[in-house]
């Protein structure tokens, strides 16, 4: 045993605590060779004696009787002051703070991912113009897939990538719909007949239909003559009056 290892056991040795026989014997044999460690053990034993004497001196001390009197009076009068320091409170406050921090962190992550997703949708090359849902769209149509309602904002029959960013931000579920139709390209809605602002505000239902490709001509859109026999998909906006008010073509 060297001095460093002796330092680890000197406390137990001074206290006379139980320890392994081999460890004890090597520690004691080390004392024969090392003056410093012998002195270290004597000092440790002296310190323990001093602490023990100090402990004995204080065994009889106790609080003054006035403390008991004051406590009894406080109990009789119900005069218990408001909480100043509770053992359990710091821990409770700590866990509350941790829970609040976790909630804030989760909120930040959700917000960041939501924003990132919105930006991703904005820059996606193939994105559909699926729109937000109207609470008035309660007219089921078994022949067609019922889509969300969108207010036609322009009558220009120009094929371009649609903008669904606003709708996506407003309604998280729209993001799912966009994902389902990420490969679709749609025109803006083209009005069918006369529609006014009141009609637009009434809401309605979007119905997916298939039309002959020649129908594109009627709306001034170019037609690929190689695929003239094929059908083309379109979303028809049905108003609450049951009439078709606008159409957009989907590729």
């Amino acid at each position: 045993m060297n001095c460093q290892k002796f330092e680890d056991v000197v406390g137990d040795l001074a206290r006379g605590q139980m320890m392994e026989t081999y460890l004890r014997s090597t520690a004691l044999s080390h004392l024969d060779d090392c003056v410093r460690c012998s002195q270290r053990l004597r000092d440790e034993q002296a310190l323990l004696r001093g602490l023990h004497v100090l402990s004995l001196q204080m065994t009889t001390i106790s609080a003054a009787s006035e403390v008991e009197t004051r406590l009894r009076e406080a109990m009789r009068a119900g005069l218990v002051p408001p909480p100043a320091l509770a053992k359990a409170h710091p821990r409770r406050a700590y866990w509350l703070a941790v829970a609040a921090a976790v909630v804030v962190l989760i909120g930040a992550i959700v917000a960041a991912s939501w924003q990132w997703q919105s930006k991703g949708n904005e820059s996606a090359p193939a994105q559909s113009a699926v729109t937000d849902e109207s609470p008035t769209s309660n007219q089921p149509n078994k022949q067609a897939i019922v889509r969300n309602v969108e207010t036609p904002k322009t009558a220009k029959p120009v094929v371009r990538r649609s903008r669904s960013t606003v709708a996506t931000r407003r309604n998280p579920r729209a993001g799912e719909t966009v994902a389902n139709h990420a490969s679709e390209i749609a025109t803006d809605f083209i009005p069918l007949g006369n529609i006014n602002s009141t009609t637009l505000q009434d809401g309605g239902t979007i119905v997916r239909v298939e039309l002959p490709r020649s129908a594109l001509v009627r709306f001034g859109l170019p037609v690929n003559m190689d695929r003239v026999d094929e059908k083309v998909k379109a979303d028809v906006w049905m108003g609450v009056d049951g009439l078709a008010h606008a159409i957009r073509f989907v590729q």
């Binding site: 045993m1 060297n2 001095c3 406390g11 080390h30 060779d33 090392c34 003056v35 410093r36 460690c37 000092d43 440790e44 002296a46 310190l47 323990l48 004696r49 001093g50 602490l51 023990h52 004497v53 100090l54 402990s55 001196q57 204080m58 065994t59 001390i61 106790s62 609080a63 003054a64 006035e66 403390v67 008991e68 004051r70 406590l71 009894r72 406080a74 109990m75 009789r76 218990v80 002051p81 909480p83 100043a84 320091l85 509770a86 053992k87 359990a88 710091p90």
Partner: protein
């Protein structure tokens, strides 16, 4: 009152929380000394120790339902509360400014070592001062384990830390105490250095 003296701490606490003054008295008389001693040994101040003792029992009267017997004894619970009060008072009142553990103590005895004769009252007083000069985290383990003679497990329960932490702090605290109490021994000259220092 006599019947209540046979009750355990939990029964007394339950009864006290229902407004039983006798239960408070029995519980107080049973536990106040340890709390008072702990506060006094930590602070060296009689008035602070009395204040803390009173605060601890007022806390028990007010928030005694916070005690959970499954998590430890009422004695440990009360000492934990007392510890919080003591540390709070020491920090706010600046009653004591513990010496840094790395700085040599000014209270080191330059001549005779208190360790040499611990039967003398002044030597005991030196030990008491040395304990009070320890940093709080070391002082509290010395008070609990050496002066209150609690086991490491009980001290760990009061301090809400691991038993290993208690052991290591106690080891460090004893080294600090020795450093404060023993006289500054003259460094041996080169001629005095013998080969008895062991490297085995």
């Amino acid at each position: 009152m006599n019947q209540r003296e046979e009750w355990d701490d939990s029964e007394l606490l339950r009864s006290m929380l229902t407004g039983d003054e006798d239960a408070l008295v029995v519980l107080y008389r049973r536990r106040q000394a340890a709390i008072y001693r702990f506060a006094y040994q930590m602070s060296g101040c009689v008035s602070l120790a009395e204040d803390v003792t009173q605060e601890v029992f007022l806390f028990l009267m007010r928030d005694g339902q916070l005690f959970d017997p499954r998590r430890g004894s009422l004695s440990s619970f009360l000492l934990g509360v007392a510890r919080n009060y003591v540390l709070r008072r020491l920090r706010s009142d600046h009653l004591l400014s513990p010496l840094s553990e790395d700085v040599a103590s000014d209270e080191q005895v330059k001549e005779a070592s208190p360790l040499d004769d611990l039967t003398r009252a002044e030597s005991i007083e030196s030990v008491r001062k040395a304990v009070l000069s320890l940093p709080e985290r070391y002082r509290e383990v010395v008070v609990l384990c050496e002066l209150q003679e609690m086991s490491y497990a009980e001290a760990a329960d009061v301090l809400e830390c691991a038993i290993g932490t208690v052991r290591s702090r106690l080891h460090r605290a004893r080294a600090l105490l020795l450093n404060k109490l023993q006289p500054v021994r003259a460094e041996p000259t080169a001629a005095e250095v013998k080969s008895e220092r062991c490297f085995a």
